[in-house]
């Protein structure tokens, strides 16, 4: 995962607002910038208002076929709506169908947002579609499109979603594995993350440790976030030692503490205390 991937709120609209006000703004279908902020706000504040999910679903349907050169304001709203739904947990269950439909959109930015949210919601229903999008492998799904640095498919998000959802059946693993050889280190990192999450096999974690030594800071940052996202404890010394901002190392180490099986994440055992002490040293 790349840190800070979410768009910042539109400036001038970033005022503190109430949930009621956010819902009101999300209804303003003729004011995409008000809707854009409102959708972001509802996700950020993990709104539990049932009306929020319904309005976000509507915002998601506001997307339109991509018309290069035309404004894509509605798609920006839809993208934020997709992201927000991923943060609403069980309340967002009714929106999974809409997210699955969004996963088929022509706009790869929307597919990316939908994939991440389906992963966050651990939506098992999404596995076949995620697999299908990746099935052609690094040479097709993972090929760079002409005229843009973007790939045919938002591979990072698709791979991460498969890891988050947690279906470790052999055909899922077989779709992910070829991406460990992708030419881009960020894709390799996402693939290793997903495989480590699904199999807990140390060989995938070790590949992430190798990426912590990569010469590009951006790659080291991604590997940090991926190790934290999985909560792979053997990474502790390598995370402490890698050359990156302490802020990101702290987020990764927080992941090592919190992303454990239920129960294990609320105990002060020796292994947890070791991670906390490593965090203390980075403050």
């Amino acid at each position: 995962m790349v840190a800070g991937a979410a768009d910042p709120p539109i400036s001038g609209n970033g005022d503190p607002i109430s949930e009621e006000e956010a819902l009101r703004r999300l209804r303003l279908t003729d004011d995409p910038s008000a809707q854009y902020y409102a959708a972001w706000w509802l996700g950020r504040n993990r709104s539990s208002n049932p009306e929020a999910v319904r309005l976000l679903q509507e915002a998601l349907r506001q997307r339109r076929a991509r018309d290069v050169g035309a404004g894509v304001e509605e798609n920006a709203v839809a993208r934020n709506a997709a992201r927000a739904l991923g943060k609403l947990g069980a309340a967002a269950q009714p929106a999974i169908e809409d997210l699955l439909a969004t996963l088929e959109d022509e706009d790869d930015g929307l597919r990316e947002a939908a994939a991440r949210s389906l992963g966050e919601l651990k939506a098992n229903e999404a596995v076949p579609a995620l697999q299908r999008r990746l099935a052609s492998g690094p040479a097709v799904a993972g090929a760079q499109r002409s005229g843009t640095p973007r790939l045919q498919e938002p591979c990072e998000a698709l791979l991460e979603a498969l890891g988050e959802i947690g279906d470790a059946s052999p055909d899922v693993l077989a779709v992910i594995e070829p991406f460990v050889q992708h030419e881009r280190p960020l894709i390799r990192s996402a693939a290793c993350r997903a495989l480590l999450q699904l199999t807990q096999e140390a060989r995938w974690g070790e590949q992430l440790l190798a990426l912590l030594q990569h010469k590009q800071l951006q790659v080291r940052r991604a590997a940090l976030m991926d190790l934290g996202g999985v909560g792979w404890r053997p990474a502790l010394p390598a995370i402490s030692a890698t050359l990156a901002e302490n802020s990101l190392k702290l987020i990764a180490l927080r992941g090592l503490v919190e992303n454990q099986d239920a129960g294990a994440s609320s105990q002060l055992d020796a292994a947890t205390v070791a991670v906390l002490e490593a965090m203390d040293d980075l403050l």
Partner: protein, 223 residues
């Protein structure tokens, strides 16, 4: 301690190597060499490196400044960069690591007002580990109360990592000075940790765990 002119010349060479470095790796290596000298003449250059947006070199520069210790404090205080919050975070971290009480005001301001969470975080840690041993009793008590007050305010910081650092600051403060604090100070310190541990609104379980660890350690020592 007198410093031989030879050593001063060597430090000048090390500073020159930092100036000549034209890749991130060279800068890192030159900074590490300068930091390892732990020589006060290197302080100004090390402070400058904090603003280069090279995390590896900044870590090494902070280590160097902490190794120089008290003689570096004046240089750090006069060169705090008001506009580059990355650099300010490293400077605050160096002051926190040195623990010189002249840094108290900067640390107080940083935790209370700085917009950068990484600056507030470093300040919170530093406020727990100022070296107050050599102060008069009155001065120590006043410094301690200032540290405690700003740390208690920091418990309500909006960023999890700052709340985490505040806990670490409170734990360190208690470890060194708990019995010196007056009863109301002791009580509010313990209460703050308990609130952080039990706060149902806390979004970061790691903050609650760290508060639990601090309380556990405090109880082991003071019952």
């Amino acid at each position: 301690m007198t410093v031989s002119s030879d050593t001063a010349a060597q430090v000048a060479d090390l500073v020159e190597a930092v100036r000549r470095a034209d890749s991130a790796l060279e800068l890192l290596q030159a900074t590490q060499a300068l930091a390892a000298s732990a020589h006060p003449d290197g302080a100004a250059c090390l402070v400058e490196i904090l603003g280069f947006n090279n995390p590896g070199a900044a870590v090494a520069a902070v280590d160097g400044l902490v190794a120089i210790g008290t003689p570096a404090v004046e240089t750090i205080l006069t060169n705090i960069d008001g506009y580059n919050y990355g650099a300010r975070a490293w400077a605050v971290r160096a002051l926190a690591g040195i623990g010189d009480v002249r840094g108290l005001e900067v640390l107080e301001d940083a935790l209370g007002k700085d917009i950068g969470p990484s600056v507030r975080r470093a300040a919170a840690r530093g406020l727990g580990q100022l070296q107050l041993e050599s102060l008069s009793e009155a001065a120590r008590s006043s410094s301690l109360n200032r540290c405690l007050a700003v740390l208690l305010d920091g418990c309500r910081d909006g960023e999890w990592v700052v709340r985490y650092a505040v806990i670490v600051g409170l734990e360190h403060l208690a470890r060194s000075w708990f019995s010196v604090l007056q009863a109301p100070g002791q009580a509010s310190l313990c209460q703050a940790l308990r609130q952080l541990k039990d706060n149902p609104e806390e979004e970061a379980p790691v903050v609650q765990l760290r508060a639990a660890l601090a309380l556990q350690r405090l109880e082991d020592v003071h019952g």
